[in-house]
């Protein structure tokens, strides 16, 4: 580096106002804002009730958010490509009822039932991907349609009835098994979700596939001209999301102690909420799964913190609504970052 270019770099650095500095920082690390919100909520709720930070309370928090946090991984992938998935909940219910019904009613071996259930979820995600890439429909419309289709299939197949855990093989219920780690109590499901975050986070940040996901979401035409196989990337994203929803279905059975077709009706909006609060841009190409995990935990923190503080849960709804709007406004501001 020459002295002149150093001076130029120095000059450009000095021109930044404090607000611009924050803008640049958040631009480079979109997970910083949800982290800040989580730290603030933790301080407030632990001040309101000392038991909030107790290991059993925090373990409960993780168990409560595990399924939504898992679904939000798939949702993050799709939102990163500038899409949206409204069929999250319906794919999960379809996968869950397939697993449970095969095992309980058709007496299929537990492991095989799980594999078929996950395969159904991958197929459902793949179908979304085909409709988006080959038929060129907007993701919103595709998944709005498949939301109804998959829900209907799940209800028709299962007859709309729940299947309790005593009718299911141990392997399917295994995700609800609790494991003590020091003073904390994790379930197998929670550990699976955390591992999944690690795997997807690695794939997004350390592999060429991850780069291509961001590129397709940010500017699909430029990505195509640069040689990125955009359609194949999109298909892989929708299929991977399906795989993740299939795992979430298994975790949900363990968590709820039953496979119920009415179990996770709010999953669509909850998963989008976690992604948005987590700092991933709805316009694609910016964000990541670390933020999403923080976003899911923030929602759980409000639920837990308000109930420990003895406050009406409606305040949670209000707070989350405000957070969503703040998060998207912040994203709009960060997107205007300039040199």
């Amino acid at each position: 580096m020459t002295t002149t270019s150093n001076a130029a770099a120095e000059f450009s650095r000095r021109r930044l106002s404090p607000a611009q500095r924050i803008q640049h920082l958040l631009h480079a690390h979109p997970w910083l804002s949800p982290l800040l919100i989580l730290v603030l909520t933790t301080i407030v709720f632990s001040a309101l009730n000392g038991r909030y930070l107790a290991p059993n309370a925090q373990s409960l928090l993780l168990q409560q958010v595990a399924v939504v946090a898992c679904l939000a991984i798939g949702q993050t992938l799709i939102i990163l490509t500038a899409g949206i998935d409204l069929s999250v909940g319906s794919i999960t219910i379809l996968s869950m009822m397939t697993m449970a019904s095969l095992a309980a009613n058709s007496k299929v071996n537990g492991g095989l039932a799980i594999l078929i259930g996950i395969a159904v979820a991958v197929g459902a995600g793949f179908l979304n991907g085909i409709l988006v890439t080959k038929v060129n429909l907007p993701p919103f419309i595709v998944t709005l349609g498949t939301l109804s289709i998959f829900t209907a299939i799940a209800l028709l197949y299962s007859g709309g009835a729940s299947i309790q855990e005593d009718r299911l093989p141990d392997l399917i219920n295994w995700t609800g098994t609790s494991i003590a780690l020091g003073p904390f109590r994790f379930t197998v499901g929670v550990i699976m979700v955390l591992l999944l975050y690690g795997v997807v986070g690695f794939a997004l940040t350390q592999t060429a596939w991850g780069r291509h996901v961001f590129a397709v979401g940010d500017d699909p035409e430029s990505a195509r001209l640069s040689g990125v196989p955009t359609k194949r990337v999109l298909l892989s994203v929708y299929s991977a999301a399906g795989l993740i929803y299939g795992l979430a279905a298994w975790i949900q059975i363990g968590r709820a102690g039953a496979a119920s077709p009415n179990g996770i009706v709010d999953a669509n909006l909850d998963s989008i909420t976690a992604v948005v609060i987590g700092g991933t841009s709805l316009f694609g190409g910016r964000g990541g799964v670390i933020g999403t995990l923080l976003g899911a935990v923030i929602v759980g923190a409000f639920t837990l913190g308000l109930s420990l503080a003895g406050v009406d849960q409606q305040w949670r709804l209000l707070a989350i609504g405000v957070l969503i709007i703040v998060a998207v406004s912040l994203d709009q501001w960060i997107r205007r970052v300039k040199a």
Partner: protein, 275 residues
Amino acid sequence: MTTMERLAVPLDDIPEDRRHVYEAEPLLSARNLGITFGRVVGLDGVSLDLYQGEVLAVIGDNGAGKSTLIKCLTGAYVPETGEIYLAGNQVTFRVPQDARAAGIETVYQQLAVIPALDIASNLYLAREERRKGPLGSVLRMLDKKGMRERAATAVQNLGIQTIQNMGQAVETLSGGQRQSVAVARAAAFGSKVVVLDEPTAALGVKESTSVLNMIKQLRENGLAVILISHNMPHVWEVADRILIQRLGSCAGVITPSSHDMGEGVAIMTGARKLT
């Protein structure tokens, strides 16, 4: 065919210090390229020769067939008639990836860069390099550090001083810097021919100058450059030869020393015939 015929201009019109470029065989040759779109004749038997270390400008009015010619050379269109030769061997490009694999890179007018990704990621987009050993082969982990270092070298080779940090997101760069990234991307990775489509159209005076310097640097580095531009002063500043397209045909080839801009524009618009 003699060099003189291929050049389509008298060797005397080429400055003495540039004549050595034309002693070699042409790197890219097109013969009688033709393409029609329904009843519209896009190209009507256009031929050109491009030499290593040369900047060949293509000028012409809107609809004269500049872009069509370039798209035929870069695989975006498949010409209906005529042949393309690269280093003497006949080639057929069905898709842009074919041309890219053969060493012909295009910098599009709309700049195919991804704003959210950093400079190194953009340079290596769709040709990422993995780490050595199991981290790369099994976990498919990217060699981020290596790509950043090589990206920095690629940018330095173009004489670009204003870009230092390869980890900087492209959306934080100015228009001229983004153009530099797009050109660096095209010029790296052992490409032989770089096609630039209106590289200065969206830039200010100062940024245009740095892009023009970059084009000269590409020529110094031994690449063959095709420059499409509407900006006559820019063309006259950097081009070795100027191919004038008019109504789908080649109206002639001139050099900045043989004709001035006014004459060039007159030929381009048909007000004057090249004799």
